[in-house]
Amino acid sequence: MSTATADALSASAPSIRVDGVVKRFPGVVALDGICAEILPGRLTGLVGPDGAGKTTLMRLMAGLLRPDEGRITLLGRDTVRDQGEIAELTGYMPQRFGLYEDLSVMENLQLYAELRELPAAQHKETFERLLDFTKLGPFTKRLAGRLSGGMKQKLGLACALMARPHVLLLDEPGVGVDPVSRQDLWRMVGELTDGGMAVLWSTAYLDEAEQCESVLLLNAGRLEFAGKPEELTRRLEGRSFRIREPAGDRRRVLAQALDLSAISDGVIQGLSVRLVTRAGASIDAVRPLADAAQARVESVAPRFEDAFVDLLGGGPGGTSVIAELMPPVALANDIAVSCTNLTRRFGDFTATDRVSFEVRQGEIFGLLGPNGAGKSTTFKMLCGLLKPSAGSAHVVGLNLAKAASAAKNQLGYMAQKFSLYGLLSVRQNLEFSAGVYGLSGAQKQERIDEMIEAFELQRFLAAEPNDLSLGYKQRLALACALMHRPPVLFLDEPTSGVDPITRREFWTHINGLVRKGVTVMVTTHFMDEAEYCDRVALMYRAQLIALDTPDALKRQVARHDDHEPTMEDAFIELIKRFDAQAAAR
């Protein structure tokens, strides 16, 4: 360690100082006069919606971009002038870390050791330290491409830590990582900050931001807030409420509440509805709604997410135009999706082991589980992307193995990557989706026009999907999936890496559709999203280990009555219990 660094650390001076930084890209100001400090020995969260400038700021700090105005100093070095030194002092883990998927874990480590010019004598000891730290020891021979999302992030972290950096920049390390692996990542980062390292963790997940010691909140290139997350949360004191277990349709209650001018934001939380009022507005406006549903309105502690959404001007309204357009779904049978003894083997490996359940019409059914638990495999079999080795799956009473085409006509599918054709324009994407679901002539035109109007795509019809903002990409993907008015909708991690505002808009549509009788199957890593589900199936080691309402699952793990576990607590606890039982057997 150089003396300058030692001085910087001992004085507890900021590790990074951002001074009036402006960065412009053609046609857009990505960062507009940012001033901030990042302290050593502390985990700082970099929060903001998609396109806020998080990645740009990180790349500026890592010396990969030059600021147009202002300067950044990192441990006393200027990121432009002393770029060579910056590279040695920082570990930077980009969103899609540059792991070589065709190399094994060990080969990746060796490669990064060489790139970092680590002396050969130190290789062995360094690798042992990193493998021990990341618990990747048993997997050194596995190809990086075959690791789960969580393990990939850990390996990326190990590579970024190769040169013992003093500053660690992590760009959305939590995307696509299940809660168990995420806990591991948090533990690792905690150890690093305890050792005096400055860690910057960018995220669109607000439960992650809440755990940081301090946060920088970016929106549209401006720094909206810097400080402890609690400070921001405290501003919302007295504005967060819950309508406890309303009778009847809680989604209707939420939709109506969101359409009130006094309410700025709201979500479904298990059987209850959580609301945030606008600044200065009173909760009294929702009381008639609550009374009609024979439910109490209670005051709850604000969350960081409430404050975040409020700072960004509140969430979207409660009415989904597209859902209004859909005719109510009427199925002959109450069961929309079902599977019996669904099993899938890959060679010796059983990915899904005798899974059976039934999903009722109009239900949101969540499929949860850690990476590699078999939820993707199960999901793929349910929507006809994979053939089961044994057992059967039905959609709207149609067997996917026997009447594949007819069954597939009944389902809509939207995946994490949105799967839009980048080479086609927005309009051509819509026309393609209408065509592959057999729509033609006047009916096709009518449906496309409906979608364009409902999702406000008019301005972008000639644009390519890749040029759209994340929110509009999501709208387009949803429009394509709903074009043929499917009674069943399959959503594969639909909001992974999506910011809270975009996510709320998405769920407004889904809630509206469900109220029309559409059945929704969803996989997610995002525990708040599980709260929207009517029932949740938890998969672990190829088996279905729990199936119940979110509230019931949370109650199962509550230690005493006044303890309110989160969905994430329930998830981790249920898996621990299963492991303990398996060990006892």
Partner: protein, 368 residues
Amino acid sequence: MHATLIRLRAQIVKELLCLLRDPKSRTIMIGPPLIQLFVFSFAMTLEIQNVDLALLNRDAGNASLELVQQLQASRLVKRIRVAQDEAEVARLIDTQEVLAGVILPETFSRDIAAGRSGTAQILLDGRKANAAQITLGYLQSIAGNASMSLRPGSGGELAVVRHAFNPNLIYRWFVVPSLSGILVTLIALMVTALSIARERELGTFDQLLVSPCTPTEIIIAKAVPAFLVGTVLASVMMSAAVFIFGIPFTGSIGLLFACLTLFILSLVGIGLMISSICSTQQQAILGTFAVVVPAILISGFATPVENMPRFLQWLAECIPLKHYLIILQGSFLKALPPAEVFANAWPMAVIAAVTLTLATLFVRSKLQ
């Protein structure tokens, strides 16, 4: 059935747009093959011209003078380097300053004057085996001409060669039609090999598989654009052969186009087969090259298939280009009779049927 047609149309439109909507990819699809046709037509010359020769003439008689004059006058020879001894001839060949050396002994003119046959020694650079062979042929015919003019009427033993179908042996008559086949092979394989792999890489393939489209529909939709691009390119190239290069077309245009259809279908089948087993575009490109280079070399374009080992001859039967080249060259130069055309057309039909079926099965197996 109606729904199938609607789905097919939507998919075909999508494939065509993916291929042709972007002006850049449109240019890449059409431009380079046409440029290559012209460049290769001039580059792939099998003729030998403008050769430098070393000459060691120990004879000062009439006969040697006549021979040297004939050499100087021929199109073959650019420059004659006069050597003083054998060592110099050897050095000139060693340093690749000349391709061949001609040594005329002291007795050359004397022998011919005496009615015996004169002997000249020819040294060739074996490193350039093919060019040396052809040069030797030319030198022999020049020597024959010289002997004719020295002793008119006595050259009865000299055969006169006449080449059927291409009397002047213009190499371009042979190269240009073949090139149209080769370039179409490349483009058709590339377009199809990338199509499924690209969708898989970008995640749109899953979206396609959850739709009601069947694997057969997917394969048909993928085959159409490559088919159209291939047909248009081949037509343009063959027109260029006739109207720009002035190559005679003696066969049946209708039959040739029917065969072109089969040819491109078989290529599309191979391309889709490659694409359906690759998961990234990079794999698909590498896969295409693994197939296309040997396919061109074994097709009989550069070397006759009949001279290859038996095993490779069988392999050549599986290569659409081999059959198509026979039909193509035949249709251009020798008015290939329909029976011959059919004999070479049905293997392509078999290849197309097998590969397209396999591609469909591979796509279906992705659903397993």
